[in-house]
Symmetry: C2
Subunit: 340 residues, 2 copies
């Protein structure tokens, strides 16, 4: 029977899989934001020496994995499985990177929830003794995402105040059975939730109900409350989605206002003209692999809940009148430096 | 350490996760093929009462899951996690189905390898005691795939002899820690392999090297040979890809000619005008969930190796001059009725 299950949706990872290294590579705009010191590499231009944004995104993902593996003191041959995906159709960023890296590959699609989805499944592979080292990775790219999901940049369309700015960047984590590093102790995989939002320029509102549902499920399953966390970070809800999430969670009886932030708010500053904030798979990935990981390693954060959030729409589903379903997966990451 | 790992790429699932039920729903053309008696439902028309092929595909997937769960004597609330994906951009067939089914969801993208990818990860969740019941599922739809990957059907373009016919259909498996049914004993997740094929009308050739690589890795890791299997079935290589695979595996020293078939060859008959054979995520899904599962349950097959194969291209990657990377994941399924 499912001995590792806690409550309805949550799993307890008793062996405490360790995140022994992370890496993050970001684009020029992200490199001008408030977290710039925390990223391993800031690109000078978002083509990264490639002929298309799509090829650039795949290279960013690939180089991020290589860097994370190198920082772990390993080579790609040491990694048993790579779990990842991205926003591009048929996840070509991750698939083409996996081709070069030659690591057995599980392709995932969780839209912007992919950092938490890949970390969840990767940590389970480690916890269950199915691998000694895995890599969890995702990426996004402003320019490739805009032309795929909205309009080609050349179109110069206006962006409403609810819109968000897709982060150009990739974050990768090396998760291991041994070694040192912050560890994954609980995972709460999410359900697909859809309250009927149809505005593809208001993703934060579309994803907020899924974030709230997963946070409440996590609290209900584990018994944890706000006081048990130093940080609860959603993936890329932006300002509007964050407010909605906080209110929805409060309505279920849980106040998270003291510790709650959103990676989409952290990654850019107000003067960077990003309207409601950052978004994209890369958003929670670079903020977690860069900023939060550093603070976890230093012990400034003892325990955090990463709640990466994805909007599961496609241009086709929107054209056919569908609303935007959201999903959120939550992962508890604990600092290595405490006996809490 | 990774106690469940066997050799370089393979995992041994010691608890023998059971496939306690499967379901398959197919389109009209598949329902005229040689395996028609093995499918649970044959649709009268490929819109399935919906207004678009995409909505129809999502409904097919959803109804297949519901049917599999019902055949297992369960309800969707009993299923701890659903793992699945499909060929449509942003896997909307699976995501929108997961919205209705309300089961915590891991979205996957492995192109046509998804049946084996979802079965692999689902079986690991069961084996590691992370769930009591999971559903692994995938789908494809001829008409939605054609217009997304090639040309709108209205275009009436000609199909070269190497082309394949995307199966309209979905297959779902309920995997459980207890109960009765054929069981999953080994999984060999695959690497992304690309030998440079660029012809999107010759997917079989593009995916064959990945299939061969995974089959050889499986033999090398487990020590199994052709004689240990009653059936080795690749996913959707068709006639051309099957021949290439068999030859590539033979060059590595393994003869599989006596037990090797391809789901894309099984699903249609020669007079159905499908050129090189069937393809799509649904191909290996309906053939395995329908035909092979029935034979496993009856004990006519004692042990089979499902090697579902995916082509990880996108229209964008092809337009940008990229070749077609392939991936193949292998799963050993054993009949319940023997002590072999």
């Amino acid at each position: 029977m499912a001995n590792n299950k806690v409550g309805q949706q949550t799993l307890k990872l008793n062996s405490h899989p360790k995140i022994i290294a992370t890496a993050s590579i970001v684009g020029p705009k992200e490199g001008e934001g408030p977290l710039k010191e925390y990223f391993d590499m800031v690109l000078q231009d978002d083509y990264f020496g490639e002929k298309s944004w799509e090829k650039a995104e795949s290279k960013i993902l690939r180089e991020t994995v290589k860097l994370a593996v190198q920082k772990a003191g390993l080579t790609p041959e040491d990694i048993h499985y790579m779990l990842g995906g991205d926003l591009l159709n048929q996840i070509i960023s991750a698939s083409f990177a996996a081709r070069e890296l030659k690591i057995p590959f599980f392709g995932l699609y969780g839209a912007c929830s992919t950092m938490a989805e890949s970390l969840t499944l990767g940590s389970i592979l480690i916890d269950g003794q199915y691998a000694d080292y895995v890599v969890a990775v995702t990426s996004s790219h402003f320019s490739s995402a805009e032309r795929q999901f909205r309009f080609p940049l050349e179109h110069g369309n206006q962006r409403p105040p609810t819109s968000q700015w897709t982060v150009t960047g990739s974050g990768a984590m090396v998760v291991a059975s041994g070694g040192e590093g912050p560890c994954v102790t609980y995972v709460t995989p999410g359900r697909v939730i859809d309250l009927g939002i149809k505005d593809a320029n208001n993703m934060g509102a579309a994803m907020a109900p899924a974030a709230a549902h997963t946070i409440v499920a996590h609290f209900r399953d584990t018994g944890f409350l706000q006081r048990d966390y130093d940080v609860i970070a959603t993936g890329d809800l932006g300002k509007i989605g964050k407010d909605i999430t906080q209110e929805m969670v409060l309505k279920e009886g849980y106040d998270i206002s003291l510790v709650y932030t959103d990676c989409g708010i952290e990654v850019f500053s107000d003067d960077q003209d990003v309207n409601s904030g950052g978004s994209g798979c890369g958003c929670s990935a670079v903020v977690t692999c860069g900023y939060f990981y550093d603070r976890l390693v230093k012990g400034e954060i003892k325990r955090m809940l990463l709640v990466a959030t994805g909007a599961l729409l496609s241009p086709t589903s929107s054209q056919q009148g569908e609303s935007i379903p959201g999903i959120a997966h939550a992962v508890t990451i604990e600092s290595m430096s405490k006996g809490r």
